[in-house]
């Protein structure tokens, strides 16, 4: 690769900026781990060890990592079916995520939810929602609780470009703005809904940012391939939210390398488009930046190797894990742990 991405052209001296080395290494590690974990998930599909559907974020890692790393413990993430990256970025163990995809008893929800519904309450991952737009109002509610109780946490809600055209988007944005809720709406604009280009079905060029003014919000568009830029946008939105100044809507320009879901070979993409985006790969950008900053390449390589080890280990554990026991079929429908709707 010869032509360097613009945003990586920074001088080594700026390493000790608002982000700093430690956090940068953490963000790199996280991006690499997410990439590796999702690639492993893809391999496991091919071996028929991951069942059902699955939606990867290959190429979109910087968004997940930038927003997650800017969060404080107690901040809440609301994700979609395309939620592996966001879930892992909050520190949920890879084993638990892969286990869920493989429908094992060690899965995050023991196979009851599946890949589209990853939830880890104790990590602040308040669910992954598979009905387009549904979680935007739900995130408002969590933010309302924080506002009402005087809690300082922020609710962060991730969704795609296609989601901006559904009714719940509109209701949530207006509601959050009117109530000045501490919620941050993050649109990952990866150019496509499932297989249809977002531009063919949307009245404005920027599906989220072009709607911000309809809710009295600033129009914010960021480069979703650069974790630093994402991180900074996140910090400022979270600060605004915690200060009681209400919601933000942030549109991240990004791209998914694979198809929409397991079933999709992504043939609808114009030729050359993927290659263009691969040149702006977030991990590549970030790796180069670390090296430019003077980080020893061995440190970077060790992070990469460690990630591979972690994933391998998690994979083995999942392969060895038992299937869920059948008696959980009817547990946890109600709070008493059971499902009795009658006496």
């Amino acid at each position: 690769m010869t032509k360097k991405p613009t945003l990586a052209r920074v001088s080594a001296s700026s390493m000790n900026d608002d982000i700093g080395e430690q956090l940068r290494l953490r963000m790199y590690r996280m991006q690499v781990e997410i990439r590796d974990a999702e690639q492993r998930a893809f391999d496991l599909f091919l071996q028929n060890l991951v069942k059902g559907t699955s939606h990867l974020s290959l190429g979109q890692e910087a968004v997940a990592v930038g927003f997650a790393c800017a969060m404080k413990p107690g901040d809440l993430s609301f994700c979609t079916y395309r939620g592996h990256a966001h879930t892992l970025a909050r520190g949920v163990p890879i084993e638990a995520v892969l286990g869920e995809l493989m429908q094992r008893d060690n899965g995050l929800m023991r196979g009851k939810g599946g890949s589209m519904h990853l939830t880890s309450e104790k990590h602040g991952v308040m669910g992954s929602y598979a009905i387009i737009g549904a979680h935007l109002p739900i995130a408002c509610g969590a933010a309302w609780r924080a506002q009402y109780k005087g809690d300082s946490d922020v609710s962060v809600c991730f969704f795609g470009d296609g989601t901006t055209n559904i009714g719940a988007f509109h209701e949530a944005l207006n509601f959050a703005a009117v109530w000045k809720l501490p919620v941050v709406f993050v649109c990952e604009n990866n150019l496509y809904m499932e297989y249809t280009p977002i531009s063919e079905v949307t009245a404005v060029e920027h599906p989220a940012a072009g709607r911000a003014s309809a809710y009295g919000l600033d129009s914010i568009i960021i480069d979703g391939q650069d974790a630093d830029e994402v991180y900074r946008a996140a910090v400022s939105a979270y600060e605004k939210a915690r200060a009681g100044h209400g919601p933000s809507l942030i549109e991240c320009k990004t791209y998914r390398y694979s198809g929409h879901s397991r079933a999709d070979p992504a043939k609808y993409r114009p030729s050359g488009e993927l290659d263009k985006w691969l040149k702006r790969d977030p991990i590549k950008i970030y790796r180069e930046r670390l090296l430019q900053f003077g980080v020893d390449e061995r440190v970077v390589t060790e992070i990469e190797a460690e990630s591979k080890r972690k994933i391998d280990e998690a994979t083995e554990k999942c392969k060895a894990a038992p299937m869920p026991s059948l008696d959980i079929l009817t547990t946890d429908v109600y709070a008493d742990g059971g499902w009795a709707w009658r006496n």
Binding site: K112, G113, M126, P137, R145, S155, A168, E171, T331, Y334
Partner: protein, 326 residues
């Protein structure tokens, strides 16, 4: 003891729970300053302030979504959906989100909230403001569904619903808001999943809900005085959890079953209960179980047509009598 309208019982029930628990919050359209379109929330804003009693935009998805998010993270919201017909514009929350989160997360998340709504016909509001949607809710796994018929039950069951750790759909009947009833002083707390026998009888069991309870009762009195048929009338009160035992026990005594339902006929709660009884108490039944329902049509606006559509005292009397004669 005080005599209270069903409407005022709603206010008292909400106030009782809000006073008890600061985590109980209340939101809906026109509910705060205006006290609700049915005047069933008058005074709550004054008593509990604008942080706990909140007017919303006309955004039913946002209302239920926000209630859910708040419930998941520690509050106990009561959300009002003005008319139950509007469940259709926020049905994703009712059918897919609120009831499924706990199960999908393998028990990690909770959703203790109450959705209150004005349900049912009789106000001549036409097909989009008069529906009885108890079956829209009962058919969804993970919900609880309650429908009180008296002011006292309004308070007791609302309190039980608010304190319940699961999501409860609380169906208030629009045509009962003005009805009065005796209500004891002090805190009232009832139990979900308990039917109540409002009239004991030995010849047949009549099950009813909400507005149909007083009608079934009046019909039973008439059946007794005019035809000597002694019906047991049970107010089902709670569709989920369902007090199946009370129903089966009654049928075991009377050997005949009638259900009086306001929801349109197909796939109603009457069908569910008839099917349970037909399966589990088949040999107890001395004759066919009969559903008395609103016909399977949209509701008309005109009073004489609407009156004809909803089960009336006379229709209940007639149907039970004819069936018992065979």
């Amino acid at each position: 003891m005080a005599e209270l309208t069903y409407r005022d019982a709603v206010v008292r029930g909400i106030a009782q729970e809000m006073a008890r628990d600061p985590d109980v919050v209340f939101l809906g359209e026109d509910v705060a300053k205006a006290g609700g379109v049915f005047k069933a929330t008058v005074g709550l804003l004054e008593q509990f302030g604008p942080l706990r009693v909140r007017d919303t935009p006309i955004s039913e998805q946002a209302i239920l979504g926000a209630a859910m998010g708040a419930a998941m993270t520690g509050l106990k919201p009561i959300a009002e959906i003005m008319f139950s017909d509007f469940f259709a514009v926020c049905f994703d929350y009712i059918a897919n989100e609120i009831p499924k989160g706990r199960y999908m997360s393998n028990g990690q998340t909770k959703c203790p909230l109450v959705v209150r709504t004005g349900n049912g016909g009789g106000a001549r509001f036409g097909a989009q403001h008069s529906q009885s949607v108890e079956n829209w809710c009962m058919m969804i796994p993970g919900l609880k569904v309650v429908a009180p018929s008296t002011p006292r039950d309004v308070i007791g069951l609302l309190a039980a619903s608010v304190r319940d750790p699961d999501p409860v759909i609380f169906l208030e009947h629009k045509s009962l808001y003005a009805v009065k009833g005796e209500v004891p002083d002090g805190e009232i707390l009832d139990t979900l999943g308990t039917a109540s026998i409002v009239r004991p009888g030995k010849d047949a069991t009549i099950l009813a809900l909400a507005l149909m309870v007083p009608r079934a009762f009046a019909a039973a009195e008439k059946l007794k005085s005019e035809f000597g048929i002694d019906c047991e009338v049970i107010d089902v009160r709670s569709l989920v959890p369902l007090d199946t035992q009370a129903i089966l026990n009654s049928v075991a005594r009377t050997h005949r079953l009638f259900t009086v339902e306001e929801n349109p006929r197909l796939c109603g709660w009457g069908a569910e209960i008839v099917s349970i009884v037909a399966d589990e108490a088949f040999y107890e039944l001395d004759g066919p179980p009969v559903r008395i329902t609103t016909p399977h049509i949209p509701l008309p606006a005109a009073d004489i047509l609407e009156d004809l559509a909803l089960p009336s005292v006379d229709r209940i009397v007639d149907r039970v009598r004819r069936s018992m004669e065979n």
